[in-house]
Subunit: 592 residues, 2 copies
């Protein structure tokens, strides 16, 4: 007789008990029972992300666990699920989601998927001369209420078959297949899309179990019409059909991305039935071909902010033509659906106050608790994305992302993908200026000091970042940083004032977005971008927009939560406020 | 001061009083106040259709009225609305809809349109720094709940305008226009389509006032795949993609018809927002590309019978892509949406029993009152459409549609469009056989008598229909008629038995369909196709399918009535019944 073990899974308020054979892999077991545990390396022990807390006989630690887990994690019973093999009865706890987010610096919390798109096996009773109801009537009797013309065509083709699988949303049937032994032809997939101004990321998920099948990133092809949203809006104003051009260029790239991602994973794009889009407000307007000019000028009012829903065919997205397309809601012209997605992943359902900052071209700032939420967008300018910085570049291979000056004056740096340094991205910029300020080479007002080790670059005093390389930081670059960081720091102060609280009331400071993932909080704190008192409360959220879109795809309840957040948020327009100007002047100075 | 008159309009249970200038045309006045009065000649006094009942000072009779109205109509106060000019106070009655149908042999009853597609003028408050709600939010505040991506694109383009016109259905916006002085660019039109196996008829209606703008008929191009539905179904079985071929051929012709009809009337097909389809069950399956094979074989079960709704884009119909497409519900495989459309126009909301017969390839028969409705389909074969008859042809120019043998033996005939006789259509066939039977040339069993004036045609005894012309009626033709008519007469008897009533309980006998419009009820009665006792109760409904589809388009309440009818109808499958066989044998004999 085979040895069997019992595993108890604690998740939210439930406990589920599953039985397994001796030696079963815990990560596989969790996936088989519908728990989505983030495991980007596929269970090979390489990524160290599938952290779970285990009590009981879970076997001894493996090398990958020793590499990825800290001593205190190990003491607290954390393990990598992919490394645990059932060798006795034990219990695992998936409830401490918060802790997982912090520990893994990842963005996924484990959950059982509850997607809108579902599949169900049905048996179609064949008609007789006494029971002449039509086939669709027989399906309606099972509780379905509507079907697309294509689903009816499929029904016409499959009418003689008895065992069918219907793919549906609510009570509406989108597709019908014959029940066959293989599952590949009748799986249901979804895509979550984070439409960034610069980069678009597509995530492909299996809706039947919530697993991420693959991901694909590509440069937003609208860049050819302008690097930033304002230039793109200008393009739509300068020619008839401009909004259509922008829509089409994005849509073509999306469709190609879907084809590639599906092809690489050996599946038909027609098996994708749901697409969820997060992105800033202008990107979502441009995705629909809606003129966004009103966002560019005061009073900066978008055409729409609601979450919207269409068919894939209506949008022109080449997944299943009757697939559902949803856009997450936005808050205002400059607080978009990407921020709502961040908030779906962060935890604002708390008594205490939380702060979230997502820095890109603008810095979106959210301050709230479960009762009240305030939002603003600080026009930081694209300094953190490398624009306006002499040797600035975005976070691509070769960008200096981390930088230190040792006590002995030696410098060290890290570049993205460890390539030869070619320039400076946002997190590198913060590190370099913080290092110069700490060494006393820059004054609190941001001016290079007379005694700083400077050279001349194109007629300006400049700091050579990498010895022997032509990569400089100029006085102007420091000024650009001060403008950008000052706007964000001032925005935080305005919201704190608006909420009537103090910094001490904030118990968590989420950093979201790519820049937020790379930034060194210590350096940001040295320069005042992160208030000193909040440094210990920093939580990196990673790509919250993508994670929130994935959650929207896998959890029917996410839409209600997003709509509730949108309703709850009080948008604070900074451009109209005197206190913002005052804080801005102060925040440009580095803390003494 | 101008002379003014008061006109009181009785309509259903309401009386509306309108004021008008002396000499105003009554038809124009009715149209201006939203009453749809059938007037295909456009008020020129040529068609004689716009019959209304008038009491009071309505001026003297005109020549067109003397031509079109019978003496008894004139005595009862009926007038042609286009000929009446206001010369005093008078009252008109639009309530006697039944009477109008009978009198005009038309299919329209006057009514105020209440379409699903509506237009509304809105004023868009411009945003300010204090009121930053997005534009769509401002429109939602007016009571709308959803908009298509295209409508949002339009909103983006028109955001700076203050006065807009929205075209909507329910609370969903389909289109947005700027309010301009002209109305052409922002009217809303609909099409009602009767998809016949042989002929497709498109009606174009102005949804803002209910007027019929034009109509267009074309041969169903699916004929190239087979003249009848069974041959077409065989085609779909014989090759992959066959159902798609049939769909595409019909859709292409529909789209061309829409283009032509819109073009002829100087309007953009994109201003058509609603399309309603009636037709037999197989045609509606083929319109959607749904395989109809299950209808061809016992137990004759269709894939769907429900009324369905899609977007124009989903179907591939080239009206406004977000336009609504609706299919009327069917009852069974051989009692289709065309019959439901007939019933919307006929009056079955009565205490007494009504009978409706719609003869085409099959004869659909409906017997009911406001409580119970029975339906069956008698497989009459296509004899009445000219098939299987030696010189048979459909009702096209040159077909003998009426025929008499005078007491002196002279024959007279009428052909369609008064062209040279080329063959015999269904109503001509009935007249010829009735004349031969009345003269004693044919026995009650349908055999040519020995003493009949017959010739030889292709080795058969045959009656030369037109002296000097090679148009014959053969013994086999009489047999074909007997089979077709016998099936219908037997179907009527089965339903009467099913309802547990007698012929005397029936107080109205509606004849629907093209053949029903042309048939001479006297002749049909001579041959027993129409029972003698019901002859005086015959009402010709004209093209009920087209009229019912138009009503569906113009009246939001029609869908609920159609669904109720579908629910109420008990379908009686004749092929399974012994009593049908018995009645059929008897009904093939002519009454003695």
């Amino acid at each position: 007789m085979e040895v069997k073990h019992e595993i108890r899974i604690r998740f939210q308020n439930r406990v589920e008990t599953i039985n397994c054979l001796d030696g079963s892999n815990l990560l596989d077991l969790l996936h088989q029972h519908g728990y989505s545990v983030y495991s980007p390396c596929g269970g090979k022990g390489r990524c160290g992300k599938c952290i779970v807390r285990v009590r009981g006989e879970a076997g001894s630690l493996t090398d990958p666990e020793r590499r990825h887990l800290t001593r205190s994690q190990i003491e607290d019973g954390f393990r990598l699920a992919c490394q645990v093999r059932a060798s006795g009865t034990f219990e695992i706890d998936l409830s401490s989601a918060d802790q997982l987010v912090i520990l893994s610096e990842g963005t996924e919390t484990p959950f059982k998927p509850d997607p809108r798109i579902r599949q169900r096996q049905i048996r179609l009773e064949q008609p007789s001369i006494d029971k002449q109801h039509d086939y669709w009537h027989r399906i309606r009797e099972l509780g379905f209420k509507a079907a697309t013309p294509r689903a009816l065509q499929r029904l016409g083709t499959l009418a003689q078959k008895q065992d069918l699988v219907v793919t549906y949303s609510g009570s509406r049937i989108l597709d019908i297949d014959e029940l066959t032994s293989g599952t590949a032809s009748r799986a249901a997939y979804g895509i979550a899309v984070d439409v960034g101004t610069t980069t678009v990321v597509l995530y492909l998920l299996d809706l039947t179990n919530g697993f991420q099948v693959g991901a694909h990133a590509f440069a937003n092809p609208q860049s050819r019409y302008g690097a930033d949203v304002i230039t793109r809006i200008d393009y739509t104003l300068s020619r008839a059909g401009g909004a259509e051009d922008l829509k089409n260029s994005l849509l073509e790239a999306l469709n190609q991305g879907v084809r590639e991602l599906a092809g690489k994973n050996g599946l038909d794009p027609g098996r994708i039935y749901h697409a969820v889009f997060a992105g800033n407000t202008v990107m979502l307007h441009m995705l629909l071909g809606v003129n966004a000019a009103s966002i560019a000028n005061a009073p900066y009012v978008p055409i729409f902010t609601d979450g919207l829903e269409f068919s894939a065919d209506e949008l022109g997205l080449k997944i299943h033509p009757d697939g559902i397309v949803e856009l997450l809601p936005c808050v205002s012209g400059y607080v978009g659906a990407d921020i709502i997605a961040d908030l779906l992943v962060a935890d604002f359902e708390s008594d205490s106050w939380r702060l979230l900052v997502d820095i890109g071209t603008n810095g979106e700032i959210i301050l709230g608790n479960k009762e009240r939420v305030f939002a603003c967008s600080a026009a930081a300018g694209p300094a953190f994305e490398g624009a306006n910085i002499t040797f600035g570049m975005s976070g691509v291979p070769g960008a200096i992302a981390a930088y230190r000056i040792e006590d002995n004056g030696e410098v060290s740096w890290q570049t993205i993908s460890s390539q030869e340094p070619r320039g400076i991205c946002g997190s590198g910029l913060v590190d370099i200026i913080a290092a110069l300020y700490s060494r006393g080479f820059v004054s609190p007002s941001g001016a290079f000091r007379e005694d700083a080790p400077l050279e001349q670059y194109q007629g300006q005093r400049a700091y050579r970042v990498v010895p022997g390389k032509e990569i400089f930081l100029t006085q102007k670059d420091v000024r650009e940083y001060q403008l950008a960081a000052g706007a964000i720091a001032a925005g935080i102060k305005v919201l704190i004032g608006e909420a009537g609280i103090s910094e001490a009331d904030i118990d968590r400071f989420y950093l979201a977005g790519g820049f937020g993932s790379y930034i060194n909080p210590e350096s940001a704190s040295v320069l005042g971008l992160i208030p000193k008192s909040l440094l210990a409360k920093v939580v990196k959220l990673g790509n919250g927009a993508g994670a929130g879109a994935r959650q929207y795809l896998l959890d029917r309840g996410a839409k209600a939560r997003a709509d509730e957040l949108k309703q709850k948020i009080t948008y604070v327009e900074l451009s109209a406020r005197k206190d913002f100007q005052k804080h801005f002047m102060e925040a440009m100075l580095f803390p003494e």
